[in-house]
Symmetry: D3
Subunit: 309 residues, 6 copies
């Protein structure tokens, strides 16, 4: 198969030298369907100068297929300017518009003052834009464009159900907490750099960033102080324990529920990601899942679309 | 307030001696509304001989009330023979008949061969009898008569919902796992001894006991081997990690879900038990919850019924 | 020794009843020199109604001294209104004015824009007021009025020294981090309630609260974004590891240094508090230090001032 | 050295492609003396189709020797049908017949009802067959054909000695526990697949499987209930702690002893396996032992038989 | 029962005051058969001045017996000078002379140079004297006079057996390691103070102290350097892991064996101590063992001698 | 670039064989400026026989440079006898003479008897010689010739400062502890073997070795027993916790300080080593630091000297 100026995202770039001294460049190329390795022999100095992870490129070359390894022999590579890098990234299978409609429904179902706050933060402006595109994680679960939104919607739906299942739950607080809990991740990854951690993600982290964003919006909207304190508690404690990075542990019914819903949904997400990414059609994955510490058994009837030859 | 041959369960019994040499007996007395301390001065030898934890007794005496301490001054105590001890134990607030009807509904909704297996084990015979009365735990969550059934039904309902919420889930397997996961607890507590751990609970434990019961029933019913193996995996792994006592960790989608549902429901049960048992009407509990490692905030509008004087 | 309407802070209050039915009240009374137990027999209903931890009271009664136990026999107790409760609390041995002068010196030595930010937050307004009075902890180290300021100044001084000892350190960033690192504790304790945790301390915690305060001030002062991000990183990571409650771990030279200085100063503070509070003049403390997990040896020549009479 | 249709077990198979596009197959080949790597260049499609781990094969090719690496250049490979795969696997150095005789002696020395139970399970039938061939572990200790039996016999001998060394020990219970403790491993590994974990090993695990086997045999033999409960406790608790996968912790003298004997014998087994497998004749192993977290010192005079060139 | 100037060791002393102001002294009195509580009302100042833990005293008073509590009403208490405090301490049930004979046998069975070293350290001088009397621990296992020797001999006997059971073991090294491994405990407890930790035990610890003693003896005896290094490794690593206080982990076959033997023998010792000390004749101990984290089941036929009334 | 009999230290040596059967030798070569890889094709048997890690060699060959990989094509390699291997090892940037002068100053500032002890051990003889050249660690921090001395001096300087900063500190004890704390490392590494662990380092370890050296010197100098015990405590406890290999935990003010200073200085040393060794000029290191569990941010203005091409 020949590639003609095909767009990819450079995810990893390593320079190497063969035993006989020929320089070459090993690259990991990503587009939304997955990633492949590429090798660029006798890479010209003009390319060598600018090639680094996170750039969008146009690749010309040939795809060599062999049973369990696919590789691109790169003949030429140029920078692809002014491209929406989201084009190159793996993406949620759920259509973005459908997810945004569902988000609007969840917000519309909130009582005030929760509805205004959620609309202000999640439906308009730069934050809302980034929120709709961010992944939920780099590698553990929902690690694809729109993954944050997909994870958020699944949680909001579960939150609604559990607020009915258990008595004494403040449903508006719990659903709002679900919608906001990972909102700071909109700034945790440098989307333009292929899911690399951003400076803010490394130094501040999504928990603190999310809280600062909510505090600022609350000040502008005159959001009630008592409700705000409860909401901040949910964001601050949603990782559940100090060991998992929560600066405070859950102390209210809604905070305990939010942590449990987050744990449940990210574990199921991580399970499906692992059995989906692990190649082959056998009953068991060949690799151990880092999240579960074991190989996993594929669900009955589950098939790895795209893993065919 | 005077007590006239009032039935109680002796939960703890300690013999002491006052500074001036008078022997007395300190007892914790339980009935279904809770427990109080009792003191029996100059306890006659005829009583001293048989008094030990786990016996049903009839107490005559006087209740002294004071703000945060209630105590029975015992004048007489006799053994209460042939009493259903469940009478003395704290009980689920949900009516037993209603819960059993719900259990039958859950079983009726299962496809075969799951339905037959669940009916065989949980709807008839000694096991079913004990299952309907057992607590879910000694002290952590759902620690009352019928608590095991209440916890099981809440989980089965969540299991049904999650089997719709997530794709690829084998609903019959997951709901069956919910119904059976703690079934071995029917033999873990010596109900006739006030929730003490039974010999079987100490030496074998509810996970292994439950599996042995299922294996035996499956052999009698010719339950399919592949389904049985999947089901045993759910029971064996439902504690989630070795640290929490699981001999194997969850490796299938349903096993991961079952562990998460169990964690969720027992955490919420433990939260409500703690805020319910911790006296006073303040916003925060005065004692730390062992389960959460912190004091807990009572839900808005939650009141401790029975904590008034 | 007789007490005549002596001011104390009620730290703990428990209601009890004697074996013969007389109600009494056990109280822990605090003033700045320490704490003693008090017993109030046949407490009148008028007192019983309002007595609870955190109130300032005037106590009339008699002090019974015995070798290793001092107790107040309370005859009367009335509420002490409009008293500065700081009067009753244990206080730093360093004079407040001297400490405030030292704080001003540290701030004056900072370059801009750090100097303006520190002055804005720590030298004027309600926050500065609370900052100067707060303890550094409830029980582990520097647990007294002014303890937060004392701990902060010790750290700022060490920060200055280490910025000279090691190359490549941004001294202004490190010293500012020292001054701000525990600033959120100004709202973590309900000082008017005898060091109880405040609602904000329980639900939000001092790390997040401090960051929100800095972000707000930075927005008002147009503080440079890059410096702000570095500073927030220091506050967010100063506990050093997730296990100790840090939402992010230290990743810059100054963040690593700040954590080490905090650890060093709080360990030495905790050592001195423990050997100071543990009664008796023996070489070793009789109680294990919770912080160190062992009994501690008193420094040569160290004497427990106040433990005599 | 030439190989002519030499039998091996395919332990690992990976397909690769050279830089110039020639497909090849990398295989790990095992027989009872150890394992070597093989490379099969230009592997014909007819072989490529069926080659996978766990199959017995006949290999024709040439062995290339070089100081610290031996490799087979494979010219031809065909499936070896109807071969006892135990032929290909590393095996205990102790002769099988001698070990079986020793097992019979241990069982003969048991009093009733223990003797009948042990004979029923371990001396006849499919279980006994598998028991005699299974390894004790995949990689940690006694990881070879017959390793389970070798480990079991060593433990039974130690159990006999310790039952004399310490008072109050029920020797029949302890020796029976030694014989049965890892019996479930007879089904944990797919022997026909080169020690891969079997479906039962992954989903149920050897502890639970062993207990189910004993319960079934006990029901058939009318084994006394009290002795059975004690024995089940030994099997269920022999890993010693929850962290190590025990569903209950040891609570009887014999259970504590059994765990200690198991720990002792598997540590010594793991030590000898590591110093035996780690090549070279130096005083210290070059690799860290995973079990001990360190390099190990070879015993004085210990030589790696088979490591010669 | 009346006591007339009966010798005891003061193990704990606390001063208290009754509600009506009468001072009294609560003491724990020990002799070799166990310990009882004592109360000394209206303790005269002449006694109050010197009474502190670790002193030998002569007690006159009356023993009050009641079902599960024995107490001495003390009328008079004087210091018992020049008494061998070993008289008051709980002691091993094995006769000292028999144990010393066994120690001499173990040493006589060692080859040179081990025999000379062991004889030099353990059979003569102050160290040998202390070694024969020390306990093996303060509270966990073998916590009685001669307990160290009893534990040492049990280990030496096991070491001999295991050196035959496993190949490649240097028996002289292993048995010597058993004899020396806890020798430093001869200085870890202040025997004259009722098993309190000595200054050396607190600051240096028995591992380091034992090594220093061996190094000194080795220098005096010209003990071969290579053997010495191996022996020091056994002492330094016998706790098995850093977590348990070993400065280095076991890296030789004999070091691994020594740790396992130590673990085995102290676990069994701790088991028997716990079931022996826990009162009552029930099947299960009423208290959890700190060592095992659970209640323990008494061995069949085990009786608590001395627990009768 | 051509190399003509250039001296290097062989750090690692691996024998390999190419696909076409040509033997070659992969070597890691070290000199004081860093390390490079070398490949020796068709290595002659005369070289193959003696080549092993830790030898000094003279290498003739050609350096191939490519952007992020440098490799020596070795043509000839001979043993370099009678060379001071310190020549080949990375070295502290601080001049040795300057560091030794500083050491003498620190010792001169000590009061007696500390001054004599420190001079005796650290200024003369074989130990002093090794002490001045040893690294502080193999890979974590100060991992270069003279690193131990550099780390020791930094700590002694901090100890002096902190003894003034905090009251009640015995400055002579603390500074002496700083000077001696890692002294045993003089024997922990086989300097002549390129920082490999020595037999003594593996079996005894630097903590125990250091203590034995001090005890021996103290005996020769009649050093006071009480001071010695305090000093031994500092050495034995300086790792701070059992988990980190301390046989006893810090219990005195000076021991707590010494551990904190050691932690502080090794963390900063480890930070600078990691950002210095991690290639490239980006803001963040590309590799995670094992010590900090995260990528680290380079200090502003910090440049990796020698990382240029």
């Amino acid at each position: 198969m020949e590639l003609q100026a095909e767009p990819f995202l450079l995810h990893d770039v390593v320079r190497r030298q063969s035993k006989d001294g020929r320089p070459f460049l090993l690259a990991t190329l990503r587009d939304r369907t997955g990633q492949i390795s590429g090798v660029f022999w006798d890479v010209p100095l003009t390319v060598d100068v600018w090639a680094r992870p996170g750039l969008a490129v146009l690749v010309t070359g040939r795809v060599n297929l062999y049973k369990d390894s696919i590789q691109v022999s790169i003949n030429d590579m140029t920078r692809a300017n002014k491209v929406d890098v989201a084009v190159f990234l793996p993406a949620s299978r759920r259509p973005r518009e459908k997810m945004l409609a569902e988000l609007r429904d969840h917000i519309a179902a909130l009582a005030e003052p929760w509805q205004t706050l959620a609309g202000y933060l999640l439906l308009e402006g730069e934050l809302a834009e980034r929120f709709a595109a961010a992944p939920a994680a780099r590698s553990m679960h929902h690690a694809y464009v729109g993954g944050l939104l997909e994870h958020t919607l699944s949680m909001a739906s579960l939150a609604r159900h559990l607020a009915r299942h258990y008595p004494h739950v403040n449903a508006d607080l719990l659903v709002s907490g679900s919608l906001f809990h990972d909102m700071g991740k909109a700034y945790e990854y440098a989307l333009e750099e292929g899911f690399a951690h951003s400076e803010d993600g490394r130094l501040v982290g999504h928990i603190v960033r999310g809280i600062v964003l909510i505090e600022k919006a609350a000040a502008e909207l005159d959001f009630p102080a008592v409700d705000l304190q409860q909401l901040i508690h949910l964001i601050a404690s949603h990782h559940g324990t100090h060991e998992w990075g929560a600066p405070v542990v859950p102390k209210t019914l809604e905070a305990v529920l939010l942590h449990q819903i987050d744990l449940l949904d990210s574990r199921i997400g991580g399970f499906m990601d692992h059995v989906g990414n692990d190649g082959g059609g056998a009953d068991w994955t060949t690799k151990r899942s880092e999240m579960f510490g074991t190989e996993l058994r594929r669900p009955e009837g589950f098939s790895n679309i795209g893993a065919a030859e």
